[in-house]
Point group: C2
Chain length 341, copies 2
Amino acid sequence: MEKRTEIGEVGEFGLINHIASKFTQKQDWTDLGIGDDTAVLDPKGNKVVTTTELFIEGVHFDLGYTPLQHLGFKVVSVVLSDIAAMNAIPAQITIGLGLSNRFSVESVDALYEGIQLACEEYKVDLVGGDTTSSPQGLIISMTATGVVEADKLVQRGTAKPNDVLCVTGDLGAALMGLHSLEREKQVFLANPDMKPELEGKSYVVLRQLKPMARFDMIHEFRDVGVVPTSMIDCSDGLASEIIHLCNASGLGARIFEKNIPIDDETYLAATEFNVSPLTAALNGGEDYELVFTVSQEDFPKVEKIADVTAIGYMTNIGNERVMVMKSDAIVDLTAPGFGKQ
Amino acid sequence: MEKRTEIGEVGEFGLINHIASKFTQKQDWTDLGIGDDTAVLDPKGNKVVTTTELFIEGVHFDLGYTPLQHLGFKVVSVVLSDIAAMNAIPAQITIGLGLSNRFSVESVDALYEGIQLACEEYKVDLVGGDTTSSPQGLIISMTATGVVEADKLVQRGTAKPNDVLCVTGDLGAALMGLHSLEREKQVFLANPDMKPELEGKSYVVLRQLKPMARFDMIHEFRDVGVVPTSMIDCSDGLASEIIHLCNASGLGARIFEKNIPIDDETYLAATEFNVSPLTAALNGGEDYELVFTVSQEDFPKVEKIADVTAIGYMTNIGNERVMVMKSDAIVDLTAPGFGKQ
């Protein structure tokens, strides 16, 4: 039987000390990490970007199929993805943790294992937090700060007409991963002796359980000497993000169905689940790719970056958010939460 | 009947726009507030301090006697108090909000009214957040950033032996406020027609419902040209905070019962509730006063500040955390969560 240590046995201060002992501060930006009233960051003349997200069990994640290590990694990726979307470099994260009495010291350790792996992957420091009890389930609030040179900061609303609209990676996979995991959960609930059937789903499942914030792209942009003219991360699906870019810039956008990058495994899974692969890409969400624009001048430099796809361009027709289908038909882009734009 | 608008009617983006429209960015530090992937802060060459707290209904607050406006104000005070404890100036806050379907747009408005009032009081900008549904109750995560000149930053562990140990304001009132409110709640539950009996409790109730982060003191320190040698805010009770200062500095501390500032109303309420006023001050918590040390040289300048009381001094006996009683007896300071030190 696995060891189970009640959090009450070590106490709040004991738990914090236990966690803090596993994290070493590595970043040049961090003057002070865990252990004082606040963390201290030295941005060395740069701007500081901040973002926060709240993750609630039963709303944002299902521990029925999400290992705590993966969850720890994922919450860091999700919040850092917003830092990437500003073309910034991540520096520090702080965490707020609400734990019901279902959670032991060992389960908190598992969560922090994933957080620690993410800290190493993204080269950020965990610099503080707040641990408390929760009447029900697991609550995680995650805040991140990053730094960016003033002339490299990229906002949502600063594209120009005819700028090339690009995305990184491929889209729709995370939703197909979610469908795969949900189906396996149902199968398991119906018959706990059944083996999970995730063959041919390894890519989409990984995209759901362990998404990556695309700082590799942020470094590529610096390497090729390009600053995107606008950028957003793809958390709610491509259509929603394009509408955000259009709303913020007062411009329109025109994208081409044939250019939207969708992985083969996503196609196959979508077919299996009777979902249109295109809908998965446009409205699936949780892919955490970057959606950005570059000037036509800069496009040749960006085009050389592996994993960047040009999908369309910005137009000066303020209310245009359309997709040209393979059939040449033109359809409006729509996203839940916005209604029809 | 009061108007009730379901959050589903306006949607997440609608709610965010509704809230954002009420907040204007006022701080010189804020380059970018709500509306992009992150907020942007220009620290203008200063260090940046960050802190986060998680507040969960039923654990940290009881909406049975806490008006949402007061709660909004309080959560900002609580998180900013940590910024004050670093001798820093507050700059920005971000909020994560988890709302069960019990909460309407109007109740979210009431919460934000209090947050807005706090933003004006403390001259900070609300620059971002995340709003989501919660399966049960209200969840608030609050993160704050502040700025501080490198030579004014004050940590916990930097006191020297013989430094004078001081506190601002008075202690124990917030706990007595909590007892008063809890009693009224029980009376109300037993008989909803009973009028609340909070006469003679206005100060302690206000200290519980609407605590203030002591930035007035931070400005006084700058005015008199003093940088405390160490500092912490008083969230868990004086004894706990002194133990933190001692642990962090490797020093001991000796305080005097006769010097501990306790308001008359706190005394009276404590007597009524059969609580020792001294215990309320030492272990009550939630007063959000500052506990700090200054060098003997600087003490005359600090002594002149109204609302500062010298309560003892730091010693070079590493394991000494004691209080000299009015009877001249010497007792060890203890705090829950630490065990006996």
